[in-house]
């Protein structure tokens, strides 16, 4: 079980301190990936804690965590959900029957059923990454809150960021080994 060891391990660091929750990432993703009306592959969470006037806020841009131990891959009966290059979790449209086992297994609620019948979600824009570009959300982000890169490369910007900044993952208790990190 788990993603096979690969040369690269693609990951994302999301800076909650810089993010202004503007949703540019959501819309850039929708345009890039032709995400149908009413759905999105990434989304914004504004978490505010405390009571007036003692408040704390955290803004997050969330998406599929491309877990190294992805429950969706385990749950998929057809092999449609799989680990692709760099450990990115993808769904092969033609193999997917839309059974939603993966949707139920994902602790991050990152998946939806595309009107064409297959399950869809964030791909880390692997089609762009393979061409040497960054994911659309990373490219557009006006606050540069999103950093994408290879965790197996200690010299990558993301490796350095994670080495120098406090960070967390979402639902660590799920044991999924997520590859999206939130800098705080």
């Amino acid at each position: 079980m788990g993603a096979p060891k690969r040369e690269k391990r693609y990951a994302m660091a999301m800076d909650t301190k810089k993010c202004v929750a503007c949703s540019a990432c959501v819309l850039a993703c929708k345009a890039e990936n032709q995400v149908p009306e009413g759905f999105c592959r990434d989304w914004i969470v504004e978490e505010v804690r405390g009571a007036y006037p003692n408040l704390k806020a955290e803004n997050r841009s969330e998406r599929c965590n491309h877990c190294s131990d992805a429950p969706c891959v385990d749950a998929c009966p057809t092999g449609a959900s799989h680990y692709a290059e760099g450990g990115v979790v993808l769904v092969t449209h033609d193999k997917c029957t839309g059974c939603k086992a993966c949707v139920a297994s994902c602790p991050y609620d990152a998946r939806y059923v595309h009107p064409e019948g297959y399950v869809d979600k964030c791909t880390f824009c692997l089609h762009r990454v393979k061409e040497g570009k960054l994911p659309a959300c990373v490219t557009v982000c006006p606050t540069s809150s999103l950093t994408f890169g290879d965790l197996n490369d200690p010299e990558s910007e993301i490796s350095k960021l994670l080495a120098s900044r406090d960070h967390k993952v979402l639902h660590p208790e799920a044991g999924t080994n997520p590859n999206v990190f939130f800098l705080s």
Binding site: A24, K56, G79, H93, V140, T143, S144
Partner: protein, 739 residues
């Protein structure tokens, strides 16, 4: 289909990559024979066109991707453009939602009467333009050219400004002055002899302490400013957020001061009191550059933190602590001037207080304060005859002068359209890209004015409410379908950016330059349009310096050489005040009979059971201009009423409950859902501006949310520059009766 050998078939089943023609049918699926391929959504353009955005007024550089079918698939930030630096805000990303808005105006429309009913009849461009020329000619003959006014917003408006100047009227206005940033601009001009401009010359990225007072940067999504805001945070800059609402920026602040609305000036004066008393100001800078320090000291001597506490609700100790903290960041302690500051009718004084605070920090011209902008010298267009003489504008009531009005007042021209209000009456309107029913306070007055007009025409992309009130409606091409003039704003480094068509105009829409020129032709004003097209116009400008449109082919942007823009670079600041110095004490104000040092006037108190209505922005919307954009609407398609959780409970209101709002004069808007939140003071409510559109033609947004504009039936006029203070309106909440 190609022939496939047995051997290839096996390879496809065992390898991740390979022939894709096999990936169909349940049999192959279940045996895992479908190869895994990385799906490409195919949105990368076969053509990528650089231009600049028009979803707001910031004018970021864009790269528009066009696919093989000629459809714009996506819009990205242009890395070569200094204002976007490869990034875009959500609205810029959503430009396709405007281009492909099914509600767009498609053909020229003329108001006619059919069976006793007024209707719009689609007509040819010839017929529509003839009608406009006829209407304008008639007004000129009967009342003089001055009786015709242009209201404009957006970059294409300058073509119509040219038309109006040629026609002979001074009544050319944009609501973005008196209804938005005018008081701030005027206050900085009075103090520093320089406005902060647009884009503002704030050096946010180098600030050590950034004070946001009435600026909700981050929700106010000015791309470059937000980029710099994030970079400043990354570098460890500290934020002081003064806002009745826990804004996004307040969520990142070291200090959030939930100030009582309308009392900013009291806080600013108390900050000055502490800073002057404790000697925390930049004495050397002021000695060299400023006048009136002693008068200021005397003026604020009694404006103690204790005094300010009674007005602002900010504890005395917090005022002292934040004053020291703000001063600790100097000379990179930027007190942001804000943008829309048309709030209480005392806004020039408030703007002056912000300007003076910045002066005490030694900010103007300094890194982390305000940079001194450079702009690219592209030669002006010439070749038109001198413009005709005319009377002065009719934008002030009879016998009234606002001495520091820096621009023609939009509400003033509206009022002048109600007979007898001004020195002379306005009888005709041209409205370009601004929905005056939402942009101006007091909608009833705007409707009354419209009913008094002899002729009116609107040029717009969408059927905004204003288009339903005019005689002729002309459909303009969107910014993605047209040329406009070059954009050469002041910035750290000067540059020129090109707007050019990404795709041809849809339907029968036409670019603004063409519309203006065609109307001009019909009015016998050809000579004022000595160019064949906007392209030719730009080309003529560029040719004077040996440049050409071809210079923009690669990136859409021409960068000037890098030039110094800070005192630290050895540049001396130039202050355009009468004294040539920073005027802490304003002799100009004194001479005009106005307070030469900022005075604090308490705002009106809400009547019992009412809340002060505040309004602002969300990152995905630029007021009424974008609320019908279905793509942006996927993130936010209505506004909600922010109300403090405890207040909501006291009122017996639940989160999500739909209510109507009724203001102090009985005006009503809604329904709107309650957002019960910890993030706002108990004495005010807040909503995002732009919703509650009444135009049925805006099919997506019609009926969604409430209109703050409908609640602004009162405005307090700023005596210095004539701006309309619009935050002096109060609402109560009315439960929706079960239907």
């Amino acid at each position: 289909m190609m022939a496939i050998s047995r051997r290839t078939f096996i390879q496809a089943g065992s390898a991740a990559a390979g022939a894709t023609v096999l990936g169909v049918g349940p049999a192959t699926q279940w045996f895992g024979l479908t190869p895994d391929v990385v799906h490409n959504p195919g949105t990368e353009g076969v053509k990528v066109v650089p231009s600049f955005c028009e979803l707001c007024f910031w004018k970021c550089g864009i790269l528009a991707h066009v696919n093989g079918e000629g459809r714009v698939t996506k819009i990205e930030g242009n890395p070569a453009h200094p204002l976007s630096q490869g990034k875009l805000c959500p609205r810029g990303t959503g430009g396709t939602g405007l281009l492909y808005d099914p509600d767009r105006l498609r053909q020229p429309l003329v108001r006619v009467e059919r069976k006793g009913q007024q209707v719009f009849e689609p007509v040819s461009w010839e017929a529509a333009l003839d009608k406009v020329a006829e209407g304008m000619q008639r007004i000129k003959q009967r009342h003089g050219a001055e009786a015709f006014a242009l209201f404009k917003h957006g970059y294409g408006g300058d073509w119509f400004k040219r038309l109006m100047k040629a026609y002979g009227t001074p009544n050319i206005t944009h609501p973005s002055y008196a209804q938005c940033r005018g008081s701030r601009q005027t206050a900085f001009e009075l103090t520093f002899g320089n406005g902060v401009g647009s884009p503002e010359v704030t050096d946010i990225e180098n600030a050590r302490v950034l004070t946001l007072i009435g600026s909700h940067l981050g929700e106010n999504m000015h791309n470059t400013q937000v980029q710099e805001f994030a970079r400043a945070i990354e570098r460890g800059a500290q934020i002081v957020a003064v806002d009745p609402r826990f804004s996004t920026a307040a969520g990142k602040a070291r200090y959030w001061l939930p100030i009582k609305p309308g009392t900013d000036t009291a806080l600013l004066l108390a900050w000055m009191h502490v800073i002057l008393e404790e000697g925390l100001y930049d004495a050397a800078y002021l000695e060299q550059h400023a006048l009136g320090l002693d008068k200021l000291k005397a003026h604020v001597a009694d404006k103690t933190p204790g005094w300010a506490y009674t007005h602002t609700g900010i504890p005395t100790q917090t005022i002292v602590e934040t004053a020291r903290f703000v001063a600790s960041g100097r000379p990179a302690s930027l007190i942001h001037p804000g943008r829309r500051t048309a709030w209480y009718g005392t806004d020039t004084q408030r703007g002056r207080a912000i300007a003076i605070m910045n002066a005490l920090m030694g900010n103007w011209g300094r890194k982390g304060g305000f940079f001194m902008p450079n702009s690219m010298g592209v030669a002006k267009f010439t070749g038109e005859p001198a413009y005709p003489e005319h009377k002065h504008a009719a934008d002030m009531p009879k016998g009234v002068v606002y001495p520091f009005a820096g621009s023609v007042l939009s509400h003033g021209l509206r009022d002048a359209s109600i007979p007898g209000h001004a020195e002379y009456d306005i009888k005709g309107w041209m409205v370009y890209g601004t929905n005056l029913l939402q942009a101006l306070p007091d909608q009833n007055k705007t409707l009354e004015a419209l009913k008094n007009l002899e002729f009116s025409v609107a040029i717009d992309v969408l059927p905004a409410e204003i288009t339903g009130w005019v005689d002729v409606v002309l459909p303009e091409a969107t910014y993605l379908e047209r040329y406009d003039d070059l954009h050469t704003p002041g910035w750290r480094q000067g540059f020129a950016a090109l707007r050019q068509p990404v795709v041809p105009p849809m339907y029968e829409s036409k670019p603004g330059w063409w519309i203006a020129k065609e109307i001009g032709k019909r009015l016998g004003l050809d000579a004022y349009f000595p160019f064949d097209s906007a392209e030719d116009y730009i080309q003529q400008r560029l040719a004077k310096d040996g440049r050409s449109l071809a210079d923009f082919a690669e990136t859409g942007v021409l960068l000037d050489k890098a030039s110094p823009c800070y005192i630290e670079d050895g540049l001396a600041p130039v202050f355009g005040t009468p004294s040539g110095k920073i005027e802490l004490y304003s002799q100009q104000m004194a001479d005009a009979g106005l307070a030469p040092l900022p005075d604090y006037e308490p705002p009106d108190e809400p009547p019992a059971g009412h809340f002060r209505l505040l309004f602002g922005r969300a990152p995905t919307q630029t007021f009424g201009r974008t609320v019908n954009n279905r793509f942006l609407g996927e993130v936010m398609d209505t506004n909600v009423l922010w109300m403090n959780v405890r207040t909501a409970k006291e009122q017996g209101l639940k989160h999500g409950q739909q209510v109507m709002l009724v203001n102090q004069d009985g005006a009503k808007t809604g329904p709107i859902a309650i957002k019960a939140t910890q993030r706002i003071r108990p004495d005010c409510v807040y909503m995002v501006h732009g919703y509650g559109q009444r135009a049925k033609g805006l099919k997506f947004t019609h009926g969604k949310g409430a209109s703050d504009s409908a609640m602004v039936t009162r405005s307090s006029i700023d005596p210095a520059m004539g701006g309309t203070g619009m935050n002096n309106n109060f609402v109560r909440v009315e439960r929706l009766e079960a239907v």
